[in-house]
């Protein structure tokens, strides 16, 4: 699934490690999310949305093929 995680993380000046720590996952999981290889659980998607103060749909493009 495509997402804006990388763009938002870089805008916030965070490393993958720091963002992972903030939402309770590993650096590798943030990397996988950014590359579109891993679809997050609802819990993780909401945690990321809350962290960036956006809605889940503003971060993840759930309609992308």
């Amino acid at each position: 699934m495509e997402s804006r995680v990388k763009e938002l993380r870089q805008d916030a000046g965070l490393s993958q490690e720091a963002l992972g720590r903030a939402v309770g996952v590993s650096r590798q999981t943030i990397n996988s999310l950014e590359k579109g290889r891993y679809d997050p659980s609802l819990r993780l998607a909401v945690a990321l949305a809350r962290h960036f103060r956006l809605s889940v749909e503003e971060i993840f493009d759930v309609d992308a093929p």
């Binding site: 939402v23 309770g24 996952v25 650096r27 590798q28 999981t29 891993y38 945690a47």
Partner: protein
Amino acid sequence: MSTHPKRGPLGVSWLNVVFAAALLIAGVLVAVLSARGLAFGLVLCALAVIQFGAAWWAVHRSDNDLARINALEYADERERQVARAGLAAVGAVALIGSLALVVVGFVLDDARVPLEAIAPWSVLVLYGTWGIANWVAAKRM
């Protein structure tokens, strides 16, 4: 949002604590009760120590997701999902391998292959499958 399960002694998961204890008990039993099992019993005891040590290292010292997955010390939901894919592959290979053994047993009526010869190879193949499947799943996910 912490996704870490409850931890046992030294921060290692209870699953690894139970595995290490089972290996240790099996090692002692084999070494004491089996007539020719002293060396194998000692190997099992050594494996218990190595397994617990690897789990501790994966939790406290490693930044490698594959090391954590192989040590059954998952840090988050993605690692648990990778582990499920790896274990599913092990199950499929075990099922196919067992079926193949049953067929061979029926086809070759007089084939006398002792369990001692098959079991170590089965373990080796399944562990190999597990490692490769974890690696592939971690790369894809």
